[in-house]
């Protein structure tokens, strides 16, 4: 049984078809890449999986269960965590609180127990606190624990976001352009980090990425989207030379032939 199974997913923004008949099967432990030019519908797919947008057509199954109509908080507490293309931390809150909020659904006490400060409340708070502390240490964030998230440098904010996603012990992690805005050496570090957390937390990962280097280094399987349509899928080595991909996709990296990349530059008319 695949961990995540998407069939016939279609989504429109007004008259614009953002995602068209998208299907995907992800097995436990896989690392799948989702690539394509800007506006191809990649983030929309993440938003549909995580319940930000309502699914109008198609079905999403997670661990064999139909989660298509679940509200987003239920999806994330059910084990699907995600990060965002443009970092979305709780900016005024401390780094510690940001991470603890990732485990919101795992706090085993109710409102009255919180008001009465019962023993159970204290045990649970301490347990979550320790989990958060160990994750902060894992991501080299301990010195920032009490600082407001907005004060952190960009790379650290990305790591806070990852810690926040991981504290809930997800089985499936959706990473939306984790290498965005990173230079090559930072991207290298990120590749290492993703490989490590995938092992340490026994994760299944779906990755949206623009940098071919990251995709080739990480993913076992890649799906290529353009204008909401799936135009190719396969192992990253094959995908790189797929004619349809070269036609649609601008490879900024040496991984794609420079000439073909230039030819395939998307026109200015494309919108998200």
């Amino acid at each position: 049984m695949p961990l995540l199974e998407i069939t016939g997913l279609t989504h429109n923004f007004g008259g614009l078809r953002a995602v068209s008949d998208f299907s995907l099967k992800v097995k436990e432990g896989e690392l799948v890449g989702l690539i394509g030019p800007n506006g191809a519908g990649k983030t929309t797919i993440f938003n549909l999986i995580s319940g930000v947008f309502k699914v109008s057509r198609g079905m999403i199954k997670y661990q064999g269960e139909d989660i298509t109509r679940w509200p987003s908080h239920r999806i994330s507490s059910g084990g699907i965590a995600r990060t965002f293309q443009n970092i979305r931390l709780f900016k005024e809150l401390s780094v510690l609180d940001n991470v603890r909020l990732g485990g919101y659904a795992q706090h085993g006490y109710n409102l009255l127990q919180a008001m009465a400060r019962t023993r159970n409340f204290k045990i649970e708070e301490e347990r979550q606190r320790q989990r958060a502390d160990s994750l902060l240490a894992r991501f080299n964030l301990s010195p920032y624990a009490d600082a407001p998230a907005r004060n952190l440098p960009y790379g650290e904010q990305r790591r806070v976001e990852m810690a926040r996603a991981l504290i809930s012990k997800p089985r499936l992690l959706l990473l939306d352009e984790p290498a965005a805005g990173m230079n090559q050496s930072e991207a290298q570090d990120l590749i290492r980090l993703i490989k490590e957390i995938k092992e340490d937390f026994s994760l299944t990962i779906i990755l949206i990425e623009h940098q071919m280097r990251v995709v080739v280094n990480l993913c076992q399987w890649v799906k290529v989207l353009d204008f909401g349509e799936t135009i190719a899928s396969g192992p990253p080595q094959d995908i790189q030379h797929h004619p349809a991909v070269l036609a649609a996709y601008l490879g900024k990296d040496g991984a794609l032939a420079e000439v073909e990349a230039e030819k395939a530059t998307p026109g200015p008319g494309k919108v998200a």
Binding site: H73, S76, F121
Partner: protein, 319 residues
């Protein structure tokens, strides 16, 4: 940490008890003149109102401009109890219960505002709360049984400095425990980024419900205290003007801060007393202050900051 915090907690409890004793003794002893006691009671009632509104506006980041509606419902519900339902002789003893009932009545009304907040937020929710305030006022004006626009009277003067102090302490205690829990963190996450909150597993609907219920409850309690201090209420006491006062106190003291609420209520109440000689012009001060605050210091004096003794303590269950 556990050993460090113990003395702090007991110090706070000791200070609270001392405050309660003072609130009981001082007015009776005649050290404070009745006018000062009266002002102190207004300060306390305003503290409760400000703390209550700050939960929704400061911590949750919504913009409720109709909080006087909750206060009014609490005031009328509590007054009906003491005037019509309970035998007069019981009322002094039943007063805390009366206030709780007033608070609960307001909390039910809180539900009415909480549900629209699931679907809309920001400016649009502000308009919903504004409409709510107007509806409450109009309903009260048209209910002849409770005196319509002439108002409702006959309440015994049950509010004293002791009860006001006790309720301020209760409000601070409850809200502090809420704020420094998973639920409080979730409520602030709604303010920071509602979509991201949902995507980290925060049940934002449930939290909005909690926030509006608790907030409305304390506004209702404050209404009950207010009614049994003045011994006369009319619908105009709970108009938009009252809501504006509460907004000024929240944004003056500081959003998302318990300390700020206490500070804002104190400064504003005392200021309005000092400015009494200005007569009608006094009513320009509040709105003007609000405009200036929004331009120059939108987070207020203590925005998102807290006095040390009000901050989160590290919980230790095992040590």
């Amino acid at each position: 940490m556990a050993t460090l915090n113990k003395p702090k907690t007991s110090l706070i409890s000791l200070a609270s008890v001392l405050l309660l004793v003072l609130a009981l003794v001082l007015p009776a002893s005649g050290v404070l003149n009745p006018y000062v006691v009266q002002i102190l009671m207004y300060v306390g009632i305003n503290m409760i109102l400000t703390l209550s509104l700050n939960l929704v506006n400061g911590y949750m980041g919504e913009f409720s401009v109709g909080h006087a509606g909750f206060m009014g419902i609490g005031a009328y519900a509590a007054s009906i109890l003491t005037v019509w339902v309970l035998p007069r002789a019981w009322t002094p003893w039943a007063f805390p219960l009366v206030l709780v009932v007033g608070g609960l009545a307001a909390a039910v009304a809180g539900l009415i505002v909480a549900f629209p907040s699931f679907r809309t937020r920001g400016d649009y929710l502000a308009i919903v709360t504004l409409a709510f305030n107007m509806i409450v006022k109009s309903v009260l004006e048209n209910l002849e049984v409770v005196g319509g626009p002439r108002g409702f009277l006959g309440m015994p003067r049950l509010t004293n400095l002791f009860w006001v102090t006790a309720w301020v302490l209760i409000t601070v205690l409850i809200l502090r425990r809420l704020v420094y829990s998973n639920f409080g963190r979730g409520i602030t996450a709604i303010r920071e980024d509602e979509v991201a909150a949902n995507l980290t597993g925060v049940d934002t609907r449930r939290l909005k419900l909690y926030a509006f219920l608790i907030s409305a409850f304390f506004a209702g309690v404050a209404g009950g205290l207010f009614a049994h201090l003045l011994q006369f209420i009319n619908p105009r006491s709970f108009s938009i003007i009252k809501s504006t006062d509460m907004l000024v106190m929240v944004y003056l003291g500081g959003v998302g801060s318990l300390a700020g609420s206490l500070l804002g209520a104190t400064i504003f109440t005392v200021l309005m007393e000092v400015l009494r000689p200005l007569g009608l012009w006094r009513w320009v001060v509040g709105p003007l202050l609000l405009v200036l605050l929004m331009i120059f210091r939108p987070k207020g004096i203590m925005g998102f900051k807290e006095w040390k003794w009000l901050r989160e303590e590290k919980v230790a269950s095992s040590q």
